[in-house]
């Protein structure tokens, strides 16, 4: 080890400001829970003030002109370390250096950019919309939930299983109304389950537009997630646990008497029930993301999905 000469030029001098900064951060964090605007504001103020003072202290040597003694040392240095004179360079030499680096960079870019694009872009450009036929409307009795599950891509196996909870709400005016809730938990994407009896003995498997769809009637009091305990009511509103919004829903359409699933959309809250429900609709977000203000501002852009 090098002997310590006591000067310790590389250590910042001890200062009280970081302590104040830490106190400010603690007050801010407590304030976010207790009273965001008042206590949180005070904490933020303390943190900013002490942080600024700390930054000023830490950068003092950098900002101030070098102290006089060090300046005096400067002329002594060349005597010990003779500086090699920069060899004279011809324009051709400089040109060759630039050409080597430039051509190398161009070749490297030509190889690297398509490879990087091939790695990253397909995840965003190769997503195709899909519509799924759930079969005739007769299979969805009014006011009852039916677990509708299918393998979206049978060749991929169970990994492509999608599940929707479908409830026929009857008519709103002259328009048919369905509640089609996705089973993807709005917390972190585990599969939510129906909280209530699932009538496996009434399970029905139908073929609709070449896809095998399994329909299981259920009468849930709500939905619950096995992973971290998120709970939802029968409209998909969060009632307990960590989820940040209501359950996602599918758009639906009725084609030749069959119920078709369309795009998935995200929901912040639902007021009212069944056909009279008012749904706060947003583009599909990944689980765990807020959709409404202010936290929703953190997710202004969503990649293309279906």
């Amino acid at each position: 080890m090098q002997p310590d000469d006591g000067a310790d030029r590389n250590q910042p001098s001890p200062t009280i400001w970081p302590l104040g900064f830490a106190v400010g951060v603690v007050v801010l964090l407590v304030g976010l829970i207790v009273s965001p605007w008042f206590l949180g504001g005070i904490g933020l103020l303390i943190a900013i003030v002490f942080g600024a003072l700390w930054a000023r202290e830490a950068t003092r040597e950098v900002r101030a002109p070098a102290p006089a003694p060090e300046v005096e040392e400067e002329p002594a240095r060349p005597a010990h370390v003779p500086v090699e004179p920069e060899p004279e360079r011809y324009p051709r030499n400089k040109f060759l250096e630039g050409a080597t680096l430039g051509v190398g960079a161009v070749i490297g870019g030509m190889v690297a950019l398509p490879a990087l694009g091939f790695m990253i872009l397909p995840a965003f450009t190769d997503v195709k919309p899909y519509h799924v036929d759930l079969g005739p409307l007769d299979n969805f009795p009014e006011g009852k939930y039916v677990i509708s599950t299918f393998l979206l891509y049978p060749e991929q196996g169970e990994v492509s299983r999608r599940t929707a909870f479908v409830r026929n709400n009857g008519f709103k005016g002259d328009q048919p109304s369905f509640t089609v809730i996705s089973n993807t938990c709005a917390h972190l994407g585990c599969p939510v389950q129906a909280n209530g009896p699932v009538f496996d003995n009434q399970k029905k498997t139908i073929q609709a537009s070449g896809l095998e769809v399994t329909l299981i009637p259920t009468s849930p009091a709500g939905f619950g997630c096995p992973c971290h305990g998120g709970q939802y009511d029968t409209e998909g509103n969060r009632t307990a646990g960590p989820p940040v919004r209501a359950l996602d829903r599918y758009e639906f359409s009725i084609v030749h008497g069959n119920l078709w699933l369309g795009r998935i959309f995200s929901v912040s809250t639902v007021t009212g029930t069944g056909a009279d429900a008012m749904i706060q609709k947003y583009t599909q977000h990944y689980p765990g993301q807020h959709v409404d203000a202010p936290e929703g501002w953190l997710y202004p852009l969503q990649p293309p999905r279906y």
Binding site: D4, Q11, D126, Q156, V159, G189, P287, L298, P303
Partner: protein, 261 residues
């Protein structure tokens, strides 16, 4: 001058010396290894300072067992789980190599944290070793990425749902989160592309980066030297000049302020 006849041992060692000399003359490798092995370290280094080597050993175990597992593993949804079952139950010694890789993964992560704690508590991250701390933090991140990507590969329910949750946690990062999640999935959903993508990351991209950074890490360790423990008299700058430089290294550490010997 009397020519002394070489002894039996010298005769036996001659081919080795010849080979080493041949290598040294053409590459300087022998000298390099000698420099690496016989460089000076503080006389009062501590057992805690072997944690870095232990971490490196754990990584080498992971690399070797991983390469061998890759000879039997099949990274596609139809075959992944079956090939893991095959490795565990049927292939000779497969259970052992998979077990080493699986448990060694946890050992590697734990050792990284212990090594990090040692560096922090010994103050070994300070000038001039800050850059090595930064490289170490990158290595820790990459090590955790190895754990995350490797967890999907058995392709059972635990793997699938844990990765679902992990990817969605990535998705909650502000602004870029959804894009990171979609990149990791390789598309709209977790599917075949996610598995092969994680396999590629797990066995090519991330280990490659780890090997490169470990090389830099070791280069800086050799260049900058090993730190003394914080209780070292050398480090405190209080070693008396008349004290012989090469102590046995077996003396008990003297607490700070304990001048009376």
């Amino acid at each position: 001058m009397v020519e002394r006849k070489p002894t039996k041992a010298q005769q036996a060692a001659a081919p080795v010396h010849y080979t080493l000399d041949w290598l040294e003359e053409r590459s300087g490798l022998v000298g390099g290894v000698r420099y690496f092995l016989f460089r000076n370290v503080p006389h009062d280094t501590n057992w805690m300072q072997t944690l870095g080597s232990a971490t490196l050993t754990a990584f080498i175990v992971q690399a070797v067992t991983g390469v061998i597992l890759a000879m039997y593993y099949k990274p596609d949804p139809q075959n992944a789980y079956a090939s893991i079952q095959n490795i565990t139950n049927d292939v000779t010694l497969g259970w052992l190599v998979r077990g080493m890789h699986r448990w060694g993964a946890s050992v590697f992560i734990i050792l990284m944290f212990l090594h990090m704690a040692r560096v922090f508590l010994f103050g070994a991250y300070k000038y001039p070793r800050e850059l090595n701390w930064v490289i170490g933090v990158l290595l820790l991140t990459l090590g955790l990425a190895e754990g995350f990507t490797g967890y999907l590969l058995p392709w059972d329910n635990t793997a699938y749902w844990a990765t679902t949750v992990g990817i969605n946690i990535n998705g909650t990062a502000p602004f870029l989160g959804p894009y990171i999640a979609q990149f990791l999935q390789g598309g709209n959903f977790i599917g075949p592309d996610t598995l092969s993508r994680f396999y590629s990351l797990h066995m090519l991209v991330v280990p490659g980066a780890i090997i490169g950074l470990i090389t830099l890490h070791l280069y800086l360790v050799i260049r900058l030297g090993v730190t003394s423990p914080p209780w070292s008299k050398d480090a405190a700058g209080t070693m008396e000049p008349e004290e012989p430089a090469g102590r046995s290294g077996l003396t008990q550490p003297v607490p700070r302020g304990g001048e009376a010997q």
